[in-house]
Every structure is written in structure tokens, then in C-alpha cells.
């Protein structure tokens, strides 16, 4: 038995692959639910109800999807150019703390129409700066950016912890380490009254469309894809590697930083070290589930968010640990990788 490259890839298979991958992941996670003594079908039904069963549940799912769309786009953009940015978690935190720093004091006097765009830009810029370091190390010293961007996640969280325990500590928080809150006019307007859903969701979806346009319709987009598909070939064809990668890093780091900024300005208002339940890492799964397609990222982010939000309610009812959501999401990454393989190859005896 061996694998043989398919001559032409069928669009039919490509559309079907993510669905099959998710079904396979749900089936595998179902075994774990059954081992824990509950009915997998009932568990999944409860997850579905928990995620979309009411207006409140649906807005909660979309609120949770917002940072995931942005970190998913961050990973998708970088991975397309084979820039292995695993540092979205750290970039998220640095974007968040930058917003807390500027939005609580320095720029607090500005009116909302000026303040909100400015803070979003500051968050994005902070995220960019976080990724340019590992990229510089790669270009200058040929250090694999996977390890450096990963290690920076730990440094970033410790840095945030230091600030919210020190200069940015909120004196009104009864000694809890949390940052000063951003001023009221820095908070993003709500999309639906009496819910947590804010216009950050719209911003994220619009950015997905923008990124899709950049990747498929601009010269930079073509270059970044070329660099990912075949670096030597791209250089031979006249694409300059370093400037292209710097732009990709700015886009990728900026999106992750923006995710942190929007999470602070849309939901929490302040920063703690548990602001992100792994949004940066989950973004990688979101991007892979969408096969790195920016528009697909929106849907895979909503799927992933629904798993997490739905699992909370299901866990209370059925006594299944909420970690089942993490397991399912991780499994769907692995099954998606296998599905993508079988789009390209077929099994031959």
C-alpha cells in the first residue's frame, strides 16, 4: 500500500473535508464522553443548546468567537507565508496591556471617536512589535521562530503580571492583581442591548474580508503566498524575502494584538493574567480548520467558540469536565490535517 498524489483535486472533496474532520473529531471525543458515563448524543445536543439555544447563548458564542476570529486570521496569514507565529498568545496580552496602559490614563481625556481607533491602533502596534523580534532573530541569526515566539508567550504573560502588580495596578481592586480599567468612553459600543456582544465582532468579520482581499487580490498577498509555497522559487522570481516577511509579521502580530485590545475594550475593561483562555493557541486550530482561508476562519472560530460556550452548560448538567471542549478542538485539528492530506493523496494498493 502506498500513497499516490491526486492528479486533480476535486472541489467537492475540498468542501467536504472540514465537515468530515469535525464529524470524526466529534466521534472520537464521543468515545471519551461515553467512558465518562454520559450519552455522547445528549452531550452534543446540550452543547448545541448551550451555544445557540437562546438569544443570550448565541450572543455569548459570538462574543467568544470575536478574539478567535482575529487570532485565527493572525495564524492563517502567517502560516500562508510559512512564518510560524506561535506567539499569538503573547501578542494578545501585550496588545491588551498596551490598551490598558494608554486607555486608563494617558489618553483618557480624548473623546470616544478619536480614542477608540487610536487605542485599537496602539494594541495592534504592540502585537506587531512582539512578532518582529522573533522574525529579526530568524532573518539575522536563522533562529527557528517557532521556539522563540513560543517562549515569548511566557515572557509576555510575566511582563503583564508585573505591570498589573506594579505601575498599572488598580488600587480599587482590593489587592487583586488587575490593571486599572480603561475609561468608559474607550469601551466598544454594544451590538445588541443587554448582551455582551460588541462591535468588535463586526470589526473582526470585516477584517476577515479585508485579509481575504489582500491575500487574493494584491501584489503583497501573492508574494506572501509565493514565499510560503516555495521560498527559493519566490526569491528567484524576484520577491524580496525579508521585506515580505516583515509585512506578513506586521499583519499577523497586529491582528493578534488587536484581538487583545478588542477583548479589553469590548468585554472586560481591564487586564488580568487570565484574560485569555488560550485564545492565541486556539487561533492556530481555528486557522487550520479553515485551511488557512480568511473567510473560513470566521466559521471555524464560531464553531470553536460554540464548543467552549456550549461545554460550560453541558458540563454542569452531565458532570463531564469542560476540558472535553479543548479535547474536541485539538482532535479536530488532527483530523483536519489528515483530511487535508487525503485531498492531495489517495491510497493505492
Amino acid at each position: 500500500m502506498r500513497f499516490e498524489r491526486r492528479e486533480n483535486r476535486s472541489l467537492y472533496l475540498m468542501a467536504l473535508a472540514p465537515a468530515l474532520a469535525v464529524v470524526a473529531a466529534l466521534a472520537l471525543a464521543g468515545i471519551l464522553i461515553a467512558i465518562a458515563g454520559a450519552s455522547p448524543l445528549e452531550a452534543y445536543w446540550r452543547i448545541l443548546i448551550g451555544a445557540f439555544g437562546s438569544r443570550l447563548a448565541a450572543t455569548e458564542t459570538l462574543t467568544r468567537a470575536t478574539p478567535l476570529i482575529l487570532t485565527g486570521l493572525s495564524a492563517a496569514v502567517a502560516f500562508r507565508a510559512r512564518l510560524w507565529n506561535i506567539g499569538a498568545e503573547g501578542q494578545f496580552y501585550i496588545g491588551a496591556i498596551a490598551v490598558a496602559a494608554f486607555g486608563s490614563r494617558a489618553l483618557a481625556a480624548l473623546p470616544a471617536p478619536l480614542l477608540i481607533p487610536l487605542l485599537l491602533a496602539i494594541g495592534a502596534a504592540a502585537g506587531m512589535a512582539m512578532l518582529l523580534g522573533p522574525l529579526w532573530l530568524r532573518l539575522r541569526f536563522s533562529v527557528d521562530e517557532v521556539v522563540t515566539s513560543l517562549l515569548l508567550n511566557f515572557i509576555a504573560v510575566l511582563f503583564v503580571s508585573m505591570l498589573i502588580d506594579g505601575v498599572l495596578k488598580d488600587p480599587a481592586a482590593f489587592g487583586w492583581p488587575q490593571s486599572r480599567p480603561v475609561v468608559d468612553q474607550a469601551m466598544l459600543p454594544k451590538l445588541i442591548a443587554h448582551s455582551r456582544l460588541h462591535i468588535g465582532f463586526v470589526i473582526a468579520v470585516v477584517l476577515a474580508v479585508v485579509v481575504h482581499f489582500i491575500q487574493s487580490r494584491t501584489v503583497f498577498g501573492m508574494r506572501s503566498r509565493a514565499v510560503g509555497l516555495n521560498p527559493q522559487g519566490a526569491v528567484f522570481a524576484g520577491v524580496r524575502l525579508a521585506p515580505t516577511l516583515v509585512k506578513v509579521a506586521c499583519l499577523s502580530g497586529g491582528l493578534a494584538g488587536l484581538a487583545g485590545a478588542i477583548e479589553v475594550m469590548g468585554v472586560k475593561g481591564y487586564v488580568t493574567t487570565d484574560l485569555s483562555p488560550g485564545f492565541g493557541y486556539t487561533g492556530i486550530v481555528v486557522a487550520m480548520l479553515a485551511n488557512l482561508n480568511p473567510l473560513g476562519v470566521v466559521f471555524s472560530a464560531i464553531f470553536t467558540a460554540a464548543m467552549f460556550v456550549g461545554a460550560d452548560g453541558m458540563s454542569r448538567g452531565l458532570r463531564i469536565p469542560t476540558y472535553i471542549a479543548d479535547v474536541t478542538v485539538a482532535l479536530s485539528l488532527l483530523t483536519m490535517l489528515i483530511a487535508l492530506f487525503f485531498i492531495q493523496y489517495r491510497l493505492r494498493r
Binding site: V147, L151, L158, I284, V327
Partner: protein, 313 residues
């Protein structure tokens, strides 16, 4: 200045160095073995987490400490097998698959842990490995408490480092591993089966990673809690580069790294006015600096991260 000297000449520091280095030695050797055969295993962080959990759980349910270590190794090997199916048989991206294995293994271990141990106030504990008293040597002043008051898995780690150095550079198996990591096509021409070698190296390496994780819960601490591996796996990946893919240097690198870590821990209590987070950052900063300084000079296995499909160029 005096405090610095006091710290360095205390036997406690050196005992801590060996203790902190042990999981790093296991993890680094495990990652090194796979990379020598051409497979980067970023599953390490998750495999160590799973090893820590399953090793602890085994002992918690009444099995012996060595059984716990063995079970951790077996589950580590199983995750290594999964990584191999994805990266060797299917030839998928080693970066993405490794991260996938890490996400899966760590979330899976939290899930099992929560099922087995419902939420409680204080985490349940086991009786960990006790230090072995070496007759004569342990009684020596300074040297005794510093170096001969360790638990058995620590000594085993040091022995394993020397054994893997011997295996990689002095045996036919080691030659096959190195050939596969440099040029799998040439290896196949010499009658070596690159697929089999990669499977063997990664599975064995992953077993070591599992043991490194289990050391945390069975010797360094006595209980399991999520996120306890704290990026040690990623540090091991950096240490492999630091070691230039040589086991003996990996041992040295892990000890050097552990020295800085033990030192900063003691400095935290000795120095006042500096936020403790600065000290906690140093291990990660040092790893990045070490990578930047050494990456150019080292010789990477040439076929690292290159999938091998028989009959395809």
C-alpha cells in the same frame, strides 16, 4: 556580593540544580533523538504534561513509583506513535502536527485528571521518590548533600544521557539514526529503512519525554495540577539547539540552565525591590539568547523537518 557567594557555595543550590535539570535532561534527550532522525517533535510540551498526569494517577491508584514512571513512558511512546503516523507516514508539517499533539495531549490529560479527581480544596498527593543515600559519598561534606542526595530518576537521567551519547555515536543503530536525519535517500540506498528508523527514534524519544513529565509529579512535587509543565518542553527544544544535537552537551546545557534557574529562585528571596516576575522571566530570556548566539554555529541535521516518501523526490 556576599549574598551571591553565599548562594553559590550552599549545598542546597547544587542539589536544586540537579533536581531542576532532571526533567529537562529527559525532555532534551527525547527531542534530540527524534531530531537526529529528522523529526522535530513539538508534541513535547503536551507529552510531558500527559506523562506528569498519568504517572501521578497510576501511583495515586496504588501502583508503585517505578510502575508510574513506566506507564508515563508507555503513554509518551503512544503519543510519539501518533506524531509519527502524521509526520512520517503521511509526511505532514512537523510544526503543525507537533502543536496538534501538544494541544491534544495536554487537554486530554486535564480531562482525564478531572474525571479521576473531582474538584477539591487541596490537590491530593502521593508519596514521591525518596533520595537515595550512596554509602560513603552521601556523607562527604558539601559534595554529599549537593550531589549524592538525589532520587533514583535523577541518576537514571544522567546515565541515560551518557548511554544515548554512546548509542548515537558508537553503534550501528546510532549511525542509522544519524544517516536518516542527514539524508534519508542515502540511508535507504545503504539498506536502512528510514521510515522504521524515524518511528523508532521518535517513539523512544517520546517515551523519555513522558518520563520527564512524570518526574515532576513523582519526585520534584507530589501532586498534579494543570499547566504545571510551564513551558519546560519548549525550553528542551531550545536546549537541543544549544547542545548542537549532542547528548553529552545536552546534559551540560540542562545543568547550566538549571543552575541559572536555581540561582534566580534564591536571588528572589535575597534581593528586594525587584519584581519577582523579572526573575521568573530569566529562564525564557536565556533560552532565546542561547538560540540566537548558537544557531549559526551549529550544524542542523540536514533532513530535519523534511518528510520522506519512498520513491518521491
Amino acid at each position: 556580593m556576599n549574598t551571591l557567594i553565599d548562594i553559590v557555595v550552599s549545598a542546597g543550590l547544587w542539589a536544586a540544580v540537579l533536581r531542576i535539570a532532571t526533567p529537562l535532561i529527559y525532555g532534551t534527550l527525547g527531542a534530540l533523538l527524534g531530531e537526529r532522525a529528522g523529526v522535530l517533535n513539538l508534541g513535547i510540551e503536551g507529552i510531558m504534561t500527559f506523562g506528569a498526569m498519568i504517572g501521578w494517577l497510576t501511583v495515586y491508584h496504588g501502583a508503585g513509583l517505578w510502575t508510574g514512571l513506566l506507564v508515563a513512558a508507555l503513554f509518551g511512546a503512544a503519543f510519539g506513535l501518533l506524531h509519527c503516523v502524521l509526520t512520517v507516514t503521511l509526511g505532514l508539517s512537523q510544526h503543525v502536527c507537533g502543536l496538534g499533539v501538544t494541544l491534544f495531549a495536554s487537554s486530554f490529560s486535564y480531562y482525564i485528571f478531572r474525571l479521576a479527581v473531582p474538584v477539591s480544596g487541596t490537590p491530593p498527593t502521593v508519596a514521591p521518590f525518596r533520595p537515595i543515600v550512596v554509602p560513603g559519598l552521601s556523607a562527604l561534606p558539601f559534595v554529599g548533600p549537593a550531589f549524592f542526595n538525589q532520587t533514583a530518576p535523577t541518576y537514571l537521567a544522567i546515565v541515560l544521557a551518557l548511554v544515548s551519547a554512546y548509542v548515537i555515536f558508537r553503534t550501528p543503530v546510532g549511525l542509522a539514526i544519524r544517516m536518516t536525519g542527514e539524508n534519508p535517500h542515502a540511508a535507504e540506498a545503504q539498506g536502512v529503512n528510514p521510515t522504521r528508523v524515524r518511528y523508532g527514534a521518535v517513539v523512544a524519544g517520546s517515551a523519555l519525554m513522558g518520563m520527564g513529565g512524570a518526574f515532576l509529579t513523582l519526585s520534584a512535587f507530589n501532586s498534579f495540577f494543570p499547566t504545571m509543565v510551564q513551558g519546560r518542553g519548549w525550553i528542551c527544544i531550545a536546549l537541543v539547539v544549544f547542545s548542537s544535537w549532542r547528548p553529552a552537551r545536552a546534559l551540560f546545557g540542562a545543568l547550566l540552565f538549571a543552575f541559572f534557574d536555581a540561582f534566580q529562585l534564591r536571588l528572589q528571596t535575597a534581593v528586594h525591590g525587584v519584581p519577582y516576575q523579572i526573575f521568573l522571566m530569566t529562564p525564557y530570556v536565556l533560552s532565546i539568547v542561547a538560540l540566537a548566539v548558537l544557531s549559526r554555529r551549529t550544524r542542523v541535521p540536514q533532513a530535519l523537518m523534511q518528510p520522506y516518501r519512498p520513491g518521491e523526490r
